[in-house]
Symmetry: C2
Subunit: 225 residues, 2 copies
DNA sequence: TACTGTGAAGCCTTTCACAGCC
DNA sequence: GGCTGTGAAAGGCTTCACAGTA
């Protein structure tokens, strides 16, 4: 079962978790893993893990499991994380700086090659080895550095405008950290980072605990990111 | 249809989006909104919005919609965001500092009242008005400041240990930004921030675009956070 | 007419059951 | 025995259709 159109989104969201677990196992020197190993670690159903992995095209060996390195590569290739996408980040505030500081985006197929802002206080300064440009230079830089992805870390108010500028500059995909829907043409790929979504789940759980919950408890929620 | 045990998790994840839209509408001075207003903005099905909202216990008026302020309050109350939970943050790196810099967590029912780290370089310094403590003081501070939530922004390696310390210190819920599954007792609520999950969805979309996709295009994905 | 509220249908994801393999 | 792979059943979420209301 390989890439018939469209992979379930839940599967896509779990794949990074598998990579994290697998890389951890890889450090121990083991050569193969089984889906029960993975599922034990992430508290998932082994069948589900097998189905998810099968989307990437890998095949395992009965009685042994999956070859570890090949499995990692298979998932990374499937997600496009084996190739490097050039990205720019717009909005060098707290969160923006934090993302610029991540030196490990290359493991996720992304390389941030430029940063932009409007504030005089930031433009021209150097953050994590990148000089911050004024946003007026966006189009020019996007073209010259072959940037395909935009990381949007501006305040909600500015998000729509900046997203528009990204699109006219030729950016194809936007990773949106602003708490706003963007409504762009359907040829632009948008994915929202949804920080508060996870907080909502957490908060609601906390609420629930007080009201009921005398002792019984299958209440842990999610796989790790 | 109010709070029969367990609300669908997708609903929980959408509720913050509604709040964001509603607060934006509130600025215009309008008194009520309909689910079609909301669904237009977020590109969702109006029925789904109605079902989601009904979980919070609000009732709307046919022909008019929902009273705006009451609706916002209803969602916030439902999520527990009307009351303030004391939280501490452990791991004052890039991301940790960024979260400490958010002054708007109070809108989400959270107040970060303490920060911890192990690095000599950070301990004792002041970040966003908070003095950073050494993690050895965790238990003491958690007790004295009545901290219920832990925000975990340490490197993956340290995550499990720190999570354990949070639990023994009396913390009830952990918002985990580390890319690791935590495996704690079932009386502890854990929610993983899943940063890379959204990136995986984005990356995969980008991949898909190159290979196929001549023109047709219902490919935009998600509601905003 | 313009909305809410809801039972039922449809669809997608997860889980189960089991065949195949070493 | 311990593992993969997969068809089929179960479960949950979304969408549809429509009744109710002002």
């Amino acid at each position: 079962m390989a890439d018939h159109r469209s992979v379930p989104e839940p599967t896509l969201r779990r794949l990074p978790c598998y990579i994290h677990v697998l890389k951890k196992v890889d450090l121990t020197g083991r050569q193969s893993v089984s889906t029960s190993d993975i599922s034990r670690e992430l508290k998932l159903d082994p069948t589900q893990v097998r189905k998810d992995l099968s989307y990437t095209g890998i095949v395992g060996k009965p009685r042994v499991g999956y070859p570890l390195k090949a499995l990692i590569e298979s998932i990374e290739r499937f997600l496009g994380w084996d190739e490097c996408t050039h990205a720019c980040l717009v909005g060098v505030g707290h969160l923006g700086s934090a993302l610029l500081g991540y030196d490990r985006f290359n493991e996720y197929g992304v390389r941030i090659v430029a940063a932009f802002d409007t504030s005089e206080a930031v433009v021209g300064s150097v953050v994590s080895d990148l000089t911050v440009f004024h946003i007026d230079e966006l189009a020019e830089v996007v073209e010259s550095l072959n940037i395909e992805m935009g990381i949007l870390t501006v305040p909600a108010k500015a998000a729509k405008d900046v997203a528009g500028e990204m699109v006219t500059s030729g950016i194809k995909a936007i990773w949106n950290f602003a708490p706003t829907a963007l409504e762009l043409g359907s040829d632009i790929i948008v994915e929202n980072a949804q920080l508060y979504a996870t907080l909502a789940v957490l908060s609601r759980q906390m609420r629930g605990r007080v009201k009921t919950q005398p002792k019984p408890s299958p209440l842990i929620i999610n796989p790790a990111t």
